[in-house]
Amino acid sequence: MRPLDLYEKDSSKRITIYFEGKVLDAYDGEKLPVALLANRIYWITTSLQGRKRGAFTFGPLPVVINGVKNMNGRKTAVRDGMRIERQNYGEFQEVVEIGENKETIQEVVDVAVIGGGMAGIGAVLELQEHLTVAIIEERGWLGGAMSLKGITQEGFDGSPREVIDELTSKFNENVKVFKGTISLGVFDEGEYFLVPAVKKGQLIEIMAKKVILATGAVENILLFENNDFPGVFRLDFALEVMNKWGVAPGRKVAIVGRRPERVIPELEKWGIEYVVVPNPKRIEGEEGVERLIDMNNNVYEVDAVIMSDYRIPDINPVTQAGGKLTFKWGYYVPVIDEQNRIREGIYVAGSVTGIKPHYANYLEGRLVGAYILKEFNYKSTPAVYREKLEKYEPEALPPLHVDFKAMDLKDVQICGCDVDLKKVDDVVKQGITDLQIVKRLTHLAMGFCQGRFCLFNGAILVSQRTGKEMSTIDLPVARPPLKNVRVKALAKEG
């Protein structure tokens, strides 16, 4: 077993990989950062400004693979003999091969569902009897945030994996499933909506009469010194490495954030030693976390830190598709009509509309499916789902207070692209409170994640420094592509 393996893996799949020349054990098909983590390697890449970064918080993960630079480490599965090297974000492949571009695949369906979590699955199950559906999921598997959990979830019987397998096994021939596929946005073409998607470099144009954004929520990023350091885990990544891949985040981990109970049972299930630190101030270490210091200067010797805070809806797909936002329950949610529509033909369901249990998201998926069936003149019973859903008031996020005075703001990263809190704070202190301008002056939200993990904190900073209500702060709108895509995936041949 490798140092951080939680159990013995299938030995028939054992392979050898090389990281910076070092020989390592891995398993065929394992995700690259997971294989490195199992071998206790956290530092994988370096930001433009020379900050060491790992794979499990924000920021991209460019690596050199078999001599080819700027490969996406997070989307790479390891193979026998693979040579992996570190690189700086700025390194790129200067000489490229120009192959024939693949022919674009076109698919026509009644409904395109973006997001393969519980809401997306619910919608598909509701729709599939009468309508054709395409479901697009970025991960290599369906189930969304619930698929990362190791313990039984409210409203469902059985383990998350069993529940998801059972539900998705019911998908019929009307359903086209696109896993490992990113959607670039929703474009209104008048007669239909165009949802371009990319799977392994292949462009797929999905034409649909209706679209459901079941695009979920993202983990709130906590602000403390060196919060971008290798060994810091967003909760979704921590759950994934444990429950999907059987690898521990560390030997002894610290849990920071206001919702430690979201991860404690999962760590206990695997017998991973942990300490709860409610008020983190700073992380220190050489190539990975070695210690965490709290606001009272207590020092915790740990080798990983898990941010277990609240989730907030991922609003980028909503604003790109032309939806408006409102501030409710402590975060921004789409403005919807009585049928969960952000505009004619585009529906939202799941945690993108408000944070609630997986089962409620599933019900909401069924609900919008039922609305759409009605639109197509099929019999459906949205009221039944509506009534059940009413039991679940979305979770409220209490206002976060950033202790500006206690920290060296230069070391606190607000965004994965070398934007530190000081840079943003300095601009806001000059009296600039329009996030559009803050964005332009600091590069906040102009990087790889398009603000997914930093705009909310930017709004919090403006609100706290100026007293401006969060509800009056306008967030910049997301622009296509919704997820990073290589130029060659879109370029036409000839």
Partner: protein, 379 residues
């Protein structure tokens, strides 16, 4: 509130005009409906060039570059003279550019025709297999439009200019062909002189004074793309290819590759980025620089080109209404002209004539049917 002069529009043009007027001791107020630099300036592609194809534009841009150099040094914003490189693919293009270069050289712009090998030395990532020559002027450059506009605005304010943000003009009050005041959502400003520097929105302002002549300026949607940042100095100059759909591309200060193509939609005020643009821009830009193929696209966006029929702006005084001036319709190259336009308009107001050939941009030329030779337009 009173102000001798009111400039409507707080983009690069309005701010540059106010800056120059304030510098000359004039009392000037800028009215901007959102924030400084929030319109097309905010969405602009950074380029500053002197490589035009007529005497007037070459002279104006020669002066503008002098001012870009001067003010970037004085005010500490970034203006880099990394050149403009026009890629040429056939004899016809080369011949056309020889003519352009001779006009440029005549006015002291040191453009020259270079070989594909020389072009490759300037931009090693270039695919030179199809080009037969290139037009190269090392004194052209690029600047960040938002930072530059902000710097001009700050210094204009220091010299006494008033800048009113989030203030929208609702009407212009005129009596006996004299401007009396400008009505805004934040009150009335008494003034005798108004300058319309609203570019894409200029027809709305012209309609408020019932402009007696036709100045056809229409908003067109143009789009741009930016890739992930890569190491500095990968693509220093602005690279242009007319063959590949009027493409332009360069590297920003931050490291991303920014660019666009001639993919025009309009007239429209709709700025929603389109999928069609994504397909085309990736196709053409990666023909010029093949290694772009492996870079990640971070974002696309759109902005206006405020276009006139000859791609030249309308800059001048409207005779029928006392002291109404227009500086609008920059057709995709207004940012670069900003400082020189500031000087020309300030000259017109304070001296009644300009030292630069402002007549080329005569607002009456459309009415008279005297369109200019089409100015070189990118994107």
């Amino acid at each position: 509130m009173n102000s001798d002069i009111v400039v409507i529009g707080g983009g690069i043009t309005g701010i540059a005009i106010a800056h120059e007027l304030a510098k000359r001791g004039e009392e000037v107020t800028v009215i901007e409906k959102r924030f400084i630099g929030s319109g097309s300036t905010f969405r602009c592609g950074t380029g500053i060039r002197q490589q035009f194809n007529d005497e007037a534009n070459v002279q104006v841009m020669k002066r503008s570059v002098e001012l870009w150099k001067k003010y970037s040094e004085e005010y500490g914003f970034s203006f880099k003279q990394t050149g403009y490189l026009f890629l040429l693919y056939n004899e016809e293009e080369v011949e056309q550019f020889r003519e352009n270069i001779s006009i440029q050289n005549r006015f002291g712009v040191p453009t020259k025709l270079i070989t594909p090998e020389e072009a490759k030395e300037i931009v090693p990532l270039l695919d030179t297999s199809e080009i037969i020559a290139a037009s190269w002027n090392p004194t052209d450059g690029k600047a960040d439009p938002f930072h530059a506009t902000t710097a001009f605005a700050l210094h204009a304010q220091e010299m006494g200019a008033r800048i009113l943000e989030y203030t929208e003009v609702k009407d212009i009050i005129i009596a006996d062909n004299e401007i009396k005041a400008v009505k805004t959502n934040n009150g009335v400003i008494k003034t005798g002189i108004v300058i319309n520097a609203t570019n894409a929105w200029s027809k709305l302002i012209n309609a408020m004074i019932k402009l007696p002549i036709r100045i056809p300026i229409e908003p067109y949607r143009h789009q741009a793309i930016i890739t992930q940042p890569i190491k500095k100095n990968a693509i220093n100059p602005m690279v242009i290819s007319f063959k590949y759909k009027d493409s332009y591309l360069t590297q920003t200060d931050h490291g991303g590759i920014i660019g666009g193509i001639g993919y025009e939609v309009g007239p429209t005020y709709n700025l929603t980025p389109s999928y069609g643009f994504l397909r085309e821009v990736t196709t053409y830009l990666s023909k010029i620089i093949p290694s772009l193929r492996e870079l990640l696209i971070l974002r696309t966006w759109a902005g206006y080109y405020a276009k006139t029929p000859d791609s030249n702006p309308a800059i001048g005084k409207i005779e029928e209404i006392n002291d109404y001036y227009i500086a609008a319709g920059f057709s995709g190259h207004g940012f670069m002209m900003g400082p020189a336009v500031g000087e020309m308009v300030a000259d017109l107001i304070t001296k009644g004539k300009a030292s630069l050939p402002v007549e080329w941009y005569d607002p009456y030329r459309f009415e008279r049917g005297e369109l200019r030779q089409k100015a070189l337009q990118m994107g």
